[in-house]
Amino acid sequence: MSELRIEHISKWFGSQRVLYDISFVFQPGQVNMIIGPSGCGKTVLLKCIVGLIIPEEGRVFFGDVDFLRAPPEKRRAILRNLGMLFQSSALFDSMTVGENVAFPLRVFTQQSEKEIQSRVEYCLERVGLAGTQHKYPAEISGGMKRRVGLARAIALNPRYLFCDEPNSGLDPLTARRIDQLIREITEDFHTTTVVVTHDLKSVVEMGQRILFLHEGRAEWQGDRKELLEDVHALPANLRAFLMASGLVQSKKP
C-alpha cells in the first residue's frame, strides 16, 4: 500500500498564518487521527492534504507522487483512490440515498446498472442502512447522513479514507457507531484512514497513529498507547486537552 506523508505544510489566510511547518507520515492500513482543540487548523490541514486548499509551502505525497504539483491527470487518478466523509456529510440533496452512493460508480466506472445497484446495496448494508436507497437526504437523520456519506466514500473501494469530524453533533451512541464503522472499514478495506476530530472518545475507540495540533503547530505525534499511558510525559497543551476531556486523569497529587 502506498504511503501517505506530508512535508513542511504551511498555510496562510491573508496575513494570518494557520499552519506552521507540519510534517507527518500516515501509517498505511491504519486509522490516523489529527486531533486538537477547535480552531487549531485540523480541517485546514485535512483540506490541504486532499487538495481542496492549496498550502503556500510544503508537499503532500501519495506514494511517490507529489500530489499538489502533479499534472491534472495524475491528480485525478489519485483522487479516484480517495474517499472523503465531510463534517456536513455533503450529500447531493437532489439525489436519493441510492443515487448518492451510485454517483461515483456512474461517473468513474463502466459498470452496468445491475452491478452498480448491487454495489450500492452492499455499501449501504455495510454501514447498516439497507433499504434506504429511495429516501432523500432531507428525510434521514444526521447520523444516517454520515453513514450514507461513508457508504459513498467507500463505493469505489478507495485506498485512502478521509473523515472530517465524523461524529460531531451526533448523540454518543451514534457517534460510537460511526467510530466503529470507520475502524471496521479501515480493517476490512485496508485503507489508510485519516480522521480529524476533537473527540477523545474517538481516539480511544479507533485511533492508532495520532498527530496533535495546537494553534497550527504539530506539538506531538505518536501512537494511542503513548498518548494514554503516561500523561505527564506529554506536552502541556496536549495534557490539558486530555484532562479537559475527562477521559484521562492526572495520577499525581
Binding site: 483540506k47 487538495g51 491534472p72 479516484r80 465531510f86
Partner: protein, 251 residues
Amino acid sequence: MWLSLLLRGFEGFGQYLLLLRRSFSGLLRFRLYWNLWTHESIQIGRDSLFLVSIISLFVGAVTTVQTAYQIVSPFIPKSTIGAIVSTSAILELAPTITSLVLAGRIGSSIASQIGSMRVSEQIDALEVMGINSATYLILPRLFGALIFFPVLVIYACFIIHIGGIVAGALTGAVNPTQFGIGARSFYEDFQIIFMLIKAVTFGFIISTVSAYQGYYVRGGALEVGYASTRAVVISCLMILIADYVLAQLLL
C-alpha cells in the same frame, strides 16, 4: 474607496473569466451531462412558460393600447399601430423584457442552487472525487440557457403579437387585419436574427453571471441569499448594457 471598488470589480471579472475557462475543461462522459442538461432545460424552458406567457400577453396588450393613445392624427393609418408593436416586440420587448424577467426567475435559482451546494460542501465533495465542479455545475446550465432562451424569446414574441391583436380588437384601436398589415409592412428577416442574437447573449449572461455568484459564495444561508440577489441585479445590469451595445453594433 473608488479605486478599491474598481480593483475589486477587475478582480471579480478576472475570476469570472477564469471560472468560464475552467468550466470548459475536464469533461467527463457525455451521458452525465446529458442528464443534467435535460434537467436544467426543463427548469429553464418548461417551468418558465407560464410566466413568460402572462408577461408577454400583457406587454403586447399595453403596448398596443398606449401606441393607439399616442396616434391622434386621422392621417396616420391604423396599421401603423401593428407596425410599431410588432417591430418593438421583435427588436426589444421579446428578448429584453423576457430576459429581465428570466434573470429574476432563473438567475436567482442558479445562484442559490450552486451557492447552497458550496456552503453545504457538496462542491468540495465533487472536487475530492476528481470531478471538475465548474464543468459539472455550469456547463449544463449554460447550454440549457443558450438553447432554450431563443425558444422562449420566439414564443414571447408570438404571445406579444397575440396580446396586441386581442387588445386592439377589444378596445377598437386596431382590427386584426390592420394589425397584420402593419406588422408585415416593416418586417425584415434580419430583425429575427437580431432578436435571436440578443436571446443567446442574454442567456449566456444570466447563466454564467448567476453561476459565478453562486460558485464563490462564502458563509451560510444568508450569504446564499445575498448571492442570489447579486446575481439578479448584475445580470439585469449586464443585459441592459449588452442590449445597448448590440443595438449600436448591429442596427
